[in-house]
Symmetry: C2
DNA sequence: ATTTGTCTTGAATGATCGTTCCAGACTCGC
DNA sequence: GCGAGTCTGGAACGATCATTCAAGACAAAT
């Protein structure tokens, strides 16, 4: 067999993901991807397919990362802390005055899922899994007494999801730390 | 003076607005705008300037409509009803199986405000005005007893804004009536 | 009726879009 | 050393992008 690839497929995918995340799908050109990955055009096409397939692979990679992150939060933290971490992990790049990039999945939800069924189903599933994570944390919190017995897991999770998505809109469009912290505190206080 | 315009400037602007709203900025081409308005390319350029200026004018027109709508809600409805109406007015086009278009301002917030300072400031101001509207309604509701005395207007308004923005993400990406209604009910129940 | 000045029209601009082709570089099994 | 087979690099493809040009159409003023 002849000649292995000259680049790390996963690493290049991640660099493309960063660019798609920052600029969005339509505003990212193949030239941008060539530039940010350092890999030749034809090699990108040979490896990942066309632009949409490339984007989809990046989106699924992002989604896998999100899934692993939630699993780790679930292991590592108490229920309320785990919920809080979900919000806070999007604040990491906010201080860089330019504002945060928000959540790649949520950005994609607004840009593409209205016109692309495949993306819509990926987005919907991701949202459902986050909602299920919240519900599981609420259940656990009720069991150990850290969350009020009056909160119904499904209702609480739905409310948290809405607050999280709104929070993510604000992270990208109006990254004011006071505002964002307030939203997180409010969302969690509702559970107590 | 010679020859007035052959088309209604506001009406054509509204048609362009509908297209920008549905597809977003990057995914809308000047050809799309020519098609949906029925007005010749060069006439569009002569009247509105380039694509970005055209978009900005559409966005400001949308924002004006939003402002008038809030003012009318404030006049017409009791505080809680007025708040509920803000959510419900985005559900009008959800039943058309294709899913709703969400809020033009919020869609734009995610697509463009991270990279365009002028848009960012328009978006931020619109969000602040909505937040202020919520705060005013809460204050009024506390005065007439329909909203709990424990709710601080600024905190309640911030929470409502987050829920509204999350709601709007879902309207466009996962337009499930049960889910959406639940979010609205929860958001308002929090005030009581 | 002719001039004046704006609006409309359809074609054309160069740039950039996503995508593909092809010749050369390279590693393996023989 | 020698094909076999995959990957790379750069140029090229037609399509579409936003934008502009030049000429004709029209209404008011003279």
């Amino acid at each position: 067999m002849p000649w292995e690839k000259q680049f790390d497929k996963a690493e290049v995918l991640d660099r493309a993901l960063q660019t798609f995340w920052t600029r969005g799908y339509e505003a990212t050109s193949m030239q941008d991807l060539v530039d940010c990955t350092g890999v030749n055009r034809a090699s990108l096409y040979a490896t990942y397919g066309d632009k949409r397939a490339f984007f989809l692979e990046a989106l699924r990679a992002y989604d896998d990362g999100r899934r692993k992150m939630l699993a780790e939060f679930e292991k590592r933290y108490q229920p309320c802390e785990a919920i809080r971490k979900v919000f806070l992990c999007f604040l990491a790049d906010v201080p860089n005055q330019t504002g945060g990039r928000g959540c790649f999945m949520t950005n994609t939800a607004l840009e593409l899922s209205a016109h692309d069924a495949e993306i819509r189903s990926i987005v919907a599933r991701a949202q459902e899994e986050v909602e299920a994570f919240f519900a599981a944390m609420i259940k656990k919190g009720k069991a150990d007494g850290s969350i009020s017995a009056h909160v119904k897991p499904s209702d609480g999770a739905r409310g948290l999801l809405a607050s999280l998505l709104g929070f993510l809109v604000l992270v990208r469009s109006r990254p004011n730390p006071t505002l964002l912290d307030g939203i997180v505190d409010d969302a969690i206080r509702r559970l107590k």
